[in-house]
Amino acid sequence: MIFNIPYIAVAALILLGLYALIFKRNLIKMVIGITLIESGVNLFLITLGYRKESIAPIYTSSPGGVMAFPVPQALTLTSIVIGVAVIALMLSLVMHIYRHYGTLDVRKVRRLKE
């Protein structure tokens, strides 16, 4: 049971993120929703690499024993780096939108017609 807690956290984070993305009307909160989904997926990747009673995979003066699998951690790092770029781009676009429309409400930011 205790080992399932990370997976429950993953599901909770992704669902919360989707909720924020779909139902929140503030653009900044939508960006927060994306970051929540991203943290959920990253947590999922990290959890996949964990083995019972394992230590961090660092050779420098390590005490020995079972090590966690490092490949998922490398994948997560890549995904975090990409995430930083996406979030920075999104926030700068939000700034531009605020400058043009004077609001962050998605219902009012709709100059593009249907």
Binding site: I58, S61, S92, M95
Partner: protein, 159 residues
């Protein structure tokens, strides 16, 4: 962003070198301990962002030109890809680690198993960490700088 109080500015001037050196340490030890180009670069960039917050965007923009910074950013990225291409020229494949076992820069092959770290290992990995670190420091700082500049000019527009 406006300038903050004298206390904050003084503390920032003292703390800045420490934060910067810690960031550079994380970059330099990327092949031995957790961390690397991106993580160390983020720490160092936050040190630069601290300067920006404490001294205000006007002061910082007077000292640093954004155009000059973007040259360093390009240089970091070019260094990374050039190292990868050198792997094709001197080694066997693109991204090949051609420096390991060459008794040159970072060329030692470490003993397997647990032990003390030797910084003179890793081949092209430390060099790539430096290139990525340079790019990340400059890149993140430019993002914060541009955002600060945009928000100030926006306030002036409204007035």
């Amino acid at each position: 962003m406006t300038e903050m109080s004298k206390i904050v500015r003084t503390i920032t001037s003292i703390a800045f070198p420490f934060a910067m050196i810690y960031g550079l340490y994380v970059i330099a030890h990327g092949h031995l301990t957790p961390g690397g180009g991106f993580q160390g670069g983020a720490i160092a960039a936050s040190a630069c962002a601290m300067i920006l917050v404490a001294f205000g965007s006007k002061w910082t923009l007077n000292k640093i030109k954004e155009k000059g910074l973007s040259v360093f950013e390009s240089l970091g990225a070019i260094g990374f890809i050039a190292l990868a291409l050198l792997g094709l020229v001197f080694g066997v494949a693109f991204f090949n680690n051609f420096l390991t076992g060459s008794n040159f820069l970072f060329g030692t092959i470490p003993a397997t198993g647990s032990g003390l770290a030797d910084i003179n290992t890793g081949g092209v990995i430390p060099l790539m960490n430096f290139a990525v670190g340079l790019k990340v420091i400059v890149g993140l700082f430019v993002i914060v700088l541009v955002m600060a500049y945009a928000s100030t000019s926006f306030k002036e527009d409204k007035k």
